[in-house]
Amino acid sequence: MKRRDFIGSLAALAATPHVGTTDPLIWSFTKGMPVLPGRVKLELPALAENGYSVAMTVTVDSPMTPSEHVRAVHLIAEKNPVRDMAVFYLGAHCPRAEVSSRLRLNGSQQVVAIAELSDGSFWSGAAFVEVREAACTDGG
C-alpha cells in the first residue's frame, strides 16, 4: 500500500464514518468492508429551494490508471423512501472520476457517496442538503 494511502486510511479510521457497515443497503455491495470517510467529494447545495431537482457532482481522488482506479460510485440518500439513488460504473478506461446528475430529495437530509476502488477498498463523502418546502402546492 502506498504511504499516501496508508496515512489516508489512518486519518479516515480516526474520523467518524458516514455510514454504518451493518446497514443492509451498504452491506449489499461492501460485504462488510469498512467504508472510510475521505477521497470522495460530494458537491450538493447547502440549501435547495426545490427537492425535485438538486444538482450533484461527485468527484473521487484517484489517478484512474489500470492499476489504480474507481470501479463504481454509489449514491445513497438518508431519508428518501428509496435510499439507493444511483450507481455509476467507471473503470480503468475512465479518465476522470467525476459524475454529475440531478437528484430528487424528499426533504432535508444527508446524501452519501461511496466509491469502490480497484483495490477493493471503499471510501465515502457526504453532504447535508436543506430542502425547502413549497409554499403553495400546485395541484395542477
Binding site: P45, A48, E49, N50, Y52, S53, V54, A55, R132, E133, A134, A135, C136, T137, D138, G139, G140
Partner: protein
C-alpha cells in the same frame, strides 16, 4: 370596498413601475438550468417540436421567428393563442407532449425578442377585470400577490410579478413542460378557486391581459421555473 379597489386600479394606468421576469425571482439552481441549453430539460420539448414542425407544418410554414411575440392575438374578434393556432390543423389535446412541443418550439424561435401584443383596448377589459377580482376560498385577486406584494415572501418563496414571458416553461414541481394556462390554473388551485377549463373564454381573456401586461419582456421559452 371591492368596487373602490377595482376603480382605483382600473384608472390608475400601468400598475407596475417596471416589468420583471420570473427569472429575477428564481433560485440559483433554476437560473443555472435555464441558462444552459445542454442541461435545460425544456429543450427536450423544443427538440421534439422542431421534429414535429418539420413533419407537419413545414410544408406551409417556413420561419416561426418573431411569431410568438404577437400571441395571444385577436383575429375576427376572437382571442387566439398559439395553442389554438397549432390545434387548427391537428387537434392535439391541451397539455399533451405534442402540443407543448410545438408551442415550445414556436416560442423558442422568438427567444430573446420582446413581447409585442397589440389587441384592441376593449378586448383587454374582461381579462383586466378578472386579474383584479377576488376569487376562491382565499378570496384574493391576482393583483394582491403579483402587483401589491411581489418581491415579498409567501412561506419560503419569493412572490414574482406573475409574468408569462417564460411559458411554455419547464416547471420543477410538474417535472415537465407546461403551458401558461396550466400555470394560471395552478395559481387558482392555490386560492381554492374554481379552475376555468383549458381554452375557455375566461382563460383566454386572462391570458391576453397577462401577456399584454408583459409587453417588452423578452420571451424566455423554454424557461425553467420552480
Amino acid at each position: 370596498m371591492k368596487l373602490i379597489f377595482l376603480f382605483v386600479v382600473l384608472f390608475s394606468g400601468a400598475a407596475l413601475a417596471q416589468n420583471r421576469s420570473g427569472l429575477e425571482f428564481a433560485s440559483e439552481e433554476v437560473r443555472r438550468l435555464q441558462a444552459s441549453d445542454a442541461e435545460n430539460p425544456g429543450m427536450l420539448w423544443v427538440d421534439q417540436g422542431a421534429k414535429l414542425f418539420a413533419q407537419k407544418c413545414a410544408s406551409c410554414h417556413v420561419s416561426m421567428k418573431g411569431v410568438a411575440t404577437r400571441y395571444p392575438a385577436v383575429e375576427d374578434g376572437r382571442i387566439v393563442t398559439l395553442e389554438a393556432k397549432v390545434r387548427h390543423k391537428e387537434a392535439f389535446a391541451y397539455e399533451s407532449d405534442e402540443l407543448l412541443a410545438l408551442t415550445s418550439y414556436v416560442a423558442h424561435q422568438s427567444r430573446g425578442m420582446p413581447i409585442k401584443v397589440n389587441p384592441p383596448a376593449e378586448k383587454l377589459d374582461a381579462g383586466r377585470k378578472a386579474y383584479y377580482s377576488r376569487r376562491g376560498q382565499m378570496n384574493l385577486a391576482c393583483a394582491h400577490c403579483h402587483e401589491q406584494n411581489w418581491g415579498k415572501h409567501l412561506g419560503a418563496e419569493t412572490l414574482s410579478q406573475g409574468q408569462p414571458n417564460g411559458y411554455p416553461a419547464y416547471r420543477l414541481e410538474w417535472q415537465k413542460m407546461g403551458s401558461l394556462e396550466r400555470r394560471i390554473r395552478a395559481c387558482m388551485f392555490g386560492l381554492h378557486a374554481e379552475l376555468p377549463p383549458y381554452g375557455s373564454d375566461a382563460m383566454l381573456e386572462l391570458e391576453l391581459f397577462l401577456v399584454w401586461r408583459a409587453n417588452g419582456l423578452p420571451i424566455e421559452t423554454p424557461a425553467v421555473r420552480r
